[in-house]
């Protein structure tokens, strides 16, 4: 900045000392300099000028790069903090917020802030300093002329202020209208089949056109304002030059200042308006960055999952020593107030026992699992694991004690090994291989071109449904939690895979407390006890044999869902 400011002064010196040839004597302190330069004064000045230019280059580059580096690192911190916060939000949050919106928060919105740095909106500060510097130098050179040069400032302030006041409302309106347009577009795109089926195309087209026009019209207005600001700044710059010439010309003639000073003033005046030129651009970028910040702030203020209270007073049981007892004590739960999904459920799973949960669709089976892993908190009642309320457990410890196998296997992009480890870098390949072997998945993983290192495409699209299930079993085995919670997959697989799954399940259930939402007859038959749910109420409980003999709800359910499909078999024959 200093270098940039000094350049016009050098021009002035050059002109006054060497070019003007007038009697305006240089200040005495330049004498040594002049002597040093001897006859090569001009070259000397040129050299100084070059130094200044190089200085400006270096400092400007340094400033830009440092700003960018700082911006990048802090934005990346912000993004990571945002992501970390998202990872810790309760599931209920994700039930009501589309993932797409969260993605745009962590990319588009943070990018908008980045754009602010890129466009140099932060250099507004530097710009202001530069402006102050220029004003100071002008006053030092000649206060009278400086005052004249600043004549353009009041009208400039008026114009900028006018713009600012109008622009704020304008830009907000632009944002709103653009958001409405894009929301409509996104909705229409995802509901396109319905639009076409109801021959609503013409109407949709009209509605879109209206929103599009509203958005265009306001942007046109904004364009006119922006162009106006830009042009008036430019015009005022030239007017200032005229003023300097008019006022300064007389002073030169009266020999009150050197002509070099006059030229320097003209140069300074031009430099003065330089940073003001694209203030409107910077303003727009700044506005959208502020809006983005607001949205990110809202997200950061979402309340994360309660971490639970690790009861440090009591001796914390080491992980391995979790016995695995599960107690549901009069548990009720509703996702939405007034619509209970579970009502007054009570049961006990003793350590090491296997319990199957069965029931019709929507009876609340899966919800039991979600409550146990504390994805949601009970509405009333309590859930105890090893005699301690899950809300009193340290959340992470609780979830480390529970291995989960989901109905729809979720695999992440990364290698097969990564998907088994799920972040526990301590697990070596040997341990993974053992888990694969026990889950009957070793054969197929060995058959992959890169074995454990085989890349899994997003959601495991390159693996079959059976292979994904086997991997989910291996993942749970590698996790080696004392409690296993499983939502059995309903999708049918070929008989060979089915056999492998059976063997794997046996391994998985061994030496563990298990709570399984069962869809396969074999799984139910293997259970120590069966819980029969209907409409969120626990109807029956007992062993397969007992319940069948009872001839109640389970008997019917069994006939509907689990009896081997036959043709024309009478219910009693099942």
């Amino acid at each position: 900045m200093g270098c940039a400011l000094a350049q016009p002064y050098l021009v002035k010196l050059t002109i006054d000392l060497f070019l003007s040839g007038t009697a305006h004597a240089p200040a005495p302190y330049f004498d040594p300099l002049l002597r040093l330069a001897g006859g090569h004064g001009l070259l000397m000045m040129g050299f100084c000028y070059l130094l200044m230019v190089a200085g400006e280059f270096t400092t400007f580059y340094g400033q830009y790069y440092l700003t960018m580096a700082v911006a990048q690192y802090s934005l990346s911190d912000l993004r990571i903090a945002l992501f970390a916060r998202l990872e810790r939000l309760p599931l209920a949050f994700f039930d009501s917020t589309p993932v797409g919106r969260l993605v745009s928060r962590s990319t588009t919105d943070i990018d908008a802030i980045n754009e602010m740095f890129n466009a140099g909106s932060l250099t507004i500060l530097v710009d202001l300093l530069t402006l102050a510097g220029i004003v100071a130098i002008m006053f030092a050179l000649n206060a009278h002329l400086a005052l004249w040069s600043l004549c353009a400032i009041p009208p400039l302030l008026v114009i900028i202020n006018l713009f600012r006041v109008r622009a704020r409302a304008l830009y907000r309106e632009i944002r709103d209208r653009l958001a409405a347009l894009n929301a409509y577009l996104s909705e229409a795109l995802s509901g396109m089949a319905v639009i076409q089926l109801f021959t609503h195309e013409a109407e949709s087209g009209r509605e879109f056109e209206l929103l599009n026009r509203r958005s265009r019209d306001i942007q046109r207005t904004a364009n006119i304002y922006e162009a106006g600001l830009f042009s008036s700044v430019e015009a005022l710059s030239s007017v200032t030059v005229a003023l300097i010439l008019w006022a300064g010309g007389g002073e030169v003639v009266r020999a009150m200042i050197g002509i070099g000073t006059l030229v320097a003033f003209i140069e300074y005046a031009q430099k003065f308006f330089f940073p003001l030129r694209d203030i409107s651009t910077k303003y727009t970028v700044l506005q959208s960055a502020l809006a983005a910040t607001e949205r990110i702030k809202d997200l950061m203020e979402e309340v994360p999952e309660a971490a639970g209270a690790p009861q440090r007073a009591a001796p914390r049981a080491a992980l391995g020593s979790t016995r695995g007892e599960i107690v549901f004590d009069q548990v009720s739960f509703a996702y939405r107030p007034g619509e209970p999904v579970l009502r007054d459920i009570s049961f006990i799973v003793e350590p090491g026992r296997k319990v199957a949960v069965v029931g019709a669709t929507g009876s609340g089976k899966t919800t039991i699992i979600k409550l146990l892993a504390r994805f949601y908190d009970v509405t009333s009642g309590r859930i105890l694991v090893d005699g301690r309320d899950v809300r009193a457990w340290d959340l992470r410890e609780l979830r480390r004690a529970i291995g989960l196998v989901q109905q729809d296997v979720m695999l992440f992009s990364g290698s097969v090994g990564d998907n088994l480890r799920m972040g526990r870098t301590g697990l070596d390949d040997r341990a993974l291989m053992r888990a694969l072997e026990r889950s009957q998945a070793l054969t197929f993983v060995r058959g992959l071109p890169h074995g454990l290192e085989e890349e899994v495409i997003e959601r495991g699209a390159n693996l079959s449904a059976g292979q994904r299930q086997l991997l989910a079993f291996a993942r749970a085995l590698a996790y080696d939690a004392p409690i296993l919670v499983m939502d059995e997959a309903t999708s049918s697989v070929d008989s060979e895979t089915e056999r492998l799954l059976q063997l794997a399940l046996e391994e998985l259930l061994a030496d563990r407390t298990a709570l399984v939402v069962a869809h396969r007859l074999s799984t139910i038959e293997r259970a120590d006890r069966i819980l029969v749910l209907s409409k969120g109420i626990l109807r029956e409980s007992g062993t397969h044999r007992e319940l069948l003999a009872q001839g109640g709800l389970y008997r019917r359910l069994f006939e509907v869902q689990y009896a081997p499909p036959g043709t024309g078999i009478e219910p009693s024959a099942a």
Binding site: V11, I80, L102, S106, N223, L243, G250, G403, L404
Partner: protein, 587 residues
């Protein structure tokens, strides 16, 4: 690009006036240094009386320049806005005609980014791009002419740094493009990562892998940072390079020109004017680089938009009037084969074996006014059968006929006006309930909308809503329950009043009792119409004239309820389980 030129041509008059203003602006901008020169020369020659005159001229030129510059920017930028507007309308109009297979290929997120980011890039090209495209050569032309008239050799010497700058920016522009594309790609990866991790949040939480996820995220952020800084290293050079070149040129002028002044071969005013011209050239020179990148980005974006423009809409014959006004409602599937992996008309899916066929040689005939029921397990091909009827998809082999005419020979709008579907997945738009119900015929009178709402069993729900019919449905109908949404879509069908009514498992989220009630009133209001009901609930289909059981894409059984029950086959089994299930549910 040719396509874009057509849009530009639409606004040729406005562009012409905008360009005229740009030329005027440049001219005035070039006049001002001359005036400054004259004024300074006058000062130096002690002709002070002439200075105020020059000053006034400068003010006049400045004000005039302000006005024309304002006009030029407003006009040209607004042409850009208008072209963006036209393009967006046309793109949307095209999107409205494209079939589901297109939306399989290009997902909503991708399309949104094309409709937002790529359109912006195109707008930049036809707005700012055109302005700089006119400005740059003009400035050069003017400046060079004036400068050469002042001093030829000085011009040559002083332009040397600009030559270097030009070459430098040309090269930088390429690197800049490349690196900013990289940054965009990395940003895309970040988005994908967030998407994936949050979609699987339940597993992440269950395996307490949150920290691991954050660590992975941190890793790709680091790559992104590195790419961004690589970009910054190049970008950061741009501004100082420009300033450096401008300053170096100024220095050359100062030394060489200063020498000329001391030799009295040039006046001081000329020198100052010369320097002003050089200053004026700094921006247009930079713009050269921008022009290149704006042009390249715009071209790339236009190509991405062309994907939409050039996507083939469902070919449909125009309304030739041969299709009668009244549709009787006879439907027939004639030897219909369908595979999702083959394009219509080819047998491409066959080599995958039988599994690739969603439908195999299906033959079903429905007389006008009859009710056909299709039952079967998930994945048996029920929905596929229905989609063929409205031509959302086309048979791989065989024909689908409505009133004896191949649906491919029927104007699409007429076909879809005659065949009304309530799809499995209810889609509501963020609008009032009334407008959602009247979606198929926007002008429907209020009484009709209300009748439809009553028939769909919505009365109780409407009473509970704060503003009744005028309640706005949230984004994607988020504020309604699944059952409510489905009943709204049934009401929508009722106001649409088609000749053929198709329910594609439309009431799956509604309890059995309500389903019976809704189906009953629905049956009353569409009496005499042909009806196709897809259901996984056997009890709702027993009164159908014809029941078809689909298994793995093949018609396994067909007949009336009584016939099928007597056969004791798949249908009988399905029906028995169904009754039990209903009994269970009502426990």
């Amino acid at each position: 690009m040719k396509r874009l030129l057509r849009y530009v041509a639409r606004y040729r008059l406005r562009y012409a006036s905008g360009i005229l203003c740009t030329v005027l602006t440049a001219t005035l901008a070039m006049v001002i240094p001359i005036l400054i020169r004259n004024a300074i020369n006058a000062v130096q020659q002690r002709h002070f009386a002439r200075v105020p005159g020059f000053a006034e001229l400068i003010v006049a030129a400045a004000l005039g320049m302000g006005v024309v510059r304002w006009l030029s920017r407003s006009i040209i930028f607004n042409c850009g806005r208008d072209i963006e507007y036209d393009l967006r309308n046309d793109l949307f109009a095209r999107l409205l005609t494209l079939s589901p297979s297109f939306y399989e290929r290009l997902k909503t997120g991708d399309l949104m980014s094309r409709m937002i980011n790529d359109l912006t890039a195109v707008r930049m090209m036809v707005g700012l791009g055109i302005l700089t495209f006119i400005n740059t050569p003009l400035y050069y032309l003017y400046a060079l002419a004036f400068m050469t008239s002042l001093n030829g050799r000085l011009t040559l010497a002083s332009l040397a740094p600009y030559g270097v700058l030009c070459a430098g920016i040309w090269r930088l522009a390429h690197t800049l493009m490349e690196r900013s594309l990289r940054v965009q790609e990395e940003l895309g990866r970040i988005g994908a990562r967030v998407q994936e991790s949050l979609a699987g949040i339940q597993v992440v939480k269950a395996y307490t892998a949150e920290e691991h996820e954050v660590a992975r995220f941190r890793e790709i952020n680091q790559t992104y940072n590195a790419e961004n800084l690589r970009l910054a290293r190049v970008r950061g050079m741009l501004m100082p390079l420009i300033r450096g070149a401008a300053a170096t040129a100024a220095m050359i002028v100062l030394i060489y020109g200063g020498f000329l002044v001391t030799q009295h071969r040039m006046s001081l005013g000329d020198l100052v004017a010369f320097m002003s011209y050089l200053g004026l050239l700094a921006w247009p020179t930079t713009s050269l680089g921008w022009m290149l990148s704006i042009y390249q980005r715009g071209k790339a974006s236009m190509k991405r938009l062309a994907d939409i423009f050039e996507a083939a809409p469902v070919p449909a014959p125009s309304d030739d009037g041969q299709w009668g006004l009244e549709v009787a409602g006879a439907i027939e599937w004639e030897h219909v084969w369908f595979s999702y992996f083959a394009s219509p008309g080819t047998n491409g899916g066959a080599d995958d074996g039988a599994a690739a066929w969603a439908l195999r040689d299906v033959n079903i005939k429905v007389q006008p006014g009859e009710k056909l029921a299709i039952v079967g397990r998930t994945g048996a091909g029920k929905s596929t059968l229905v989609k063929l009827l409205t031509r959302l998809i086309e048979p791989t082999a065989g024909r689908v006929l409505v009133d004896g005419r191949d649906v491919r020979d029927v104007p699409l709008a007429r076909l879809r006006r005659s065949v009304g579907v309530v799809p499995q997945e209810p889609v509501l738009f963020s609008d009032t309930l009334a407008r959602n119900i009247a979606f198929g015929c926007p002008g429907a009178p209020r009484a009709e909308i209300e009748r439809a709402a009553v028939a769909a069993g919505l009365v109780g729900d409407l009473e509970a809503m704060p503003r009744g019919m005028e309640t706005r449905v949230g984004e994607r109908g988020m504020t309604l329950s699944g059952g409510q949404k489905q009943r709204v879509t049934v009401a929508r069908l009722l106001t649409y009043d088609p000749a053929v009514v198709v329910l594609d498992d439309a009431l799956s989220s509604v309890d059995t009792e309500t389903e019976h009630a809704v189906l009953h009133t629905l049956g009353e209001s569409v009496k005499g119409r042909s009806m196709v009901v897809v259901s996984h609930r056997a009890s709702t289909v027993r009164d159908a004239d014809q029941i078809v059981v689909l298994q793995d894409g093949v018609v396994a059984e067909r007949g009336t309820h009584e016939e099928l029950m007597a056969r004791r086959g798949a249908y009988a089994e399905l029906f028995r389980r169904q009754l039990l299930e209903e009994e269970l549910a009502s426990y």
